[in-house]
Symmetry: C2
Subunit: 237 residues, 2 copies
Amino acid sequence: MTSREPRPGKSERRTDALSKERIVEAAIEILDAEGESGLTFRALAARLSTGSGAIYHHVANKNDLLTAATDEIVERVLSGVARYGQPREVIRVVALGMFDAIDVHPWVGTHLTSEPRQLALPQVLEGLGGPLRALGVPDHAQFDCASALLNYVLGVGGQNAAHARVHAGVGDRATFLASIVARWTQLDPERYPFVHKMATRLREHDDREQFLAGIDLILAGIESVSRTGETAVLPDP
Amino acid sequence: MTSREPRPGKSERRTDALSKERIVEAAIEILDAEGESGLTFRALAARLSTGSGAIYHHVANKNDLLTAATDEIVERVLSGVARYGQPREVIRVVALGMFDAIDVHPWVGTHLTSEPRQLALPQVLEGLGGPLRALGVPDHAQFDCASALLNYVLGVGGQNAAHARVHAGVGDRATFLASIVARWTQLDPERYPFVHKMATRLREHDDREQFLAGIDLILAGIESVSRTGETAVLPDP
DNA sequence: ACCTGAACACCGTTCAAGT
DNA sequence: ACCTGAACACCGTTCAAGT
């Protein structure tokens, strides 16, 4: 519980003065280790060997801190992702990068959908939407296509973050999934036939593969829009 | 600030004893009127003219209360939705029902993605996935298709909830969107060419139409999977 | 200018005491 | 059995006082 010494340098000045970068870095470490509920200004101040009020000299409030931490993770992920190559492959790599990042940092999946003004959102949008032109998607359809991809990625991310949050408290992932399957199979089979059919598949499915299958599904839809023109689904004539 | 009289009936017993239904109903009213931050056990107790501890006799905790409120809204929406007709139309109506519900009750969009054990999730899954068989989607692909639709709906819902939360505090929707457009156009046009192209469209777009365009995109992808078989996107042979 | 940490205004939740 | 509301153990945030 005692705070570690901040490097035993000369005593002229603390060599590691507080800065937004150091605060964000410490916040990320706490978030990864303890989850969202572990990040308090008191815990953060203790880890930085300072008073909780000091943090407010570098960060406006907790929301600002979470936004900065989320932006930092997304920046790292997307800067390490190839932007050349087949457009379809770039989209898949960007999407998978976000999926894996949220797998490692579940809190990113939560905050990404809760603060629409953060930089991370246009960054992901650029990564998913940029390749659309090269894919042959007409100008007027690009917004809809990019937004579908983005919202799907955000949906899965939020869901995975919620899963991680829950089975952080209650045992491991397998027992957590089993508890959901059990709940689903208790539902009335007359009213929920589809859910019953899917329940077993839920237990044995691979999150990452299924995520990619969804991306491929949307990509197939995008291809079909690009071919047929204006609307994705034409009413039967 | 004085609490309203609970109906001046005879004094044998309070005619309106506390119950989970009454608590959930009051919680929904507070959530709709004041937003998520307005729902506190003190505010809820005051509205129900009782002590805050009394609520715990009918509800396990705040998460349980929010789950019950979310389930209630989703139950209302989906029970009022047609289950017959063209399968594609059923999917669109279920999706639009969720979209509109989250538009009216933004907190539903938040809680739907934060509690994976709630009943509302399999309910929406049934509504979106049930019609897939009639659409001609092969058995082994139905899980991926339904999950893509569900995650897209959850993504948009979470995003819209976040928008509502922000522009509840800061003026109306138009100025909120304008502030996002302003932020996006300040980004480096070299690094974010796509975001720049989309920024103007963001201001003039219709949320509901765009939501439906995304559903249609995924439906087009589903059609294409059903036609071509196993994989959505075939590698060029 | 930056840091400190006590103080303030809240929360969710518990629990002895009432009916 | 159900309700009451004070008390407890936290929060985020502020701010006088220090350096």
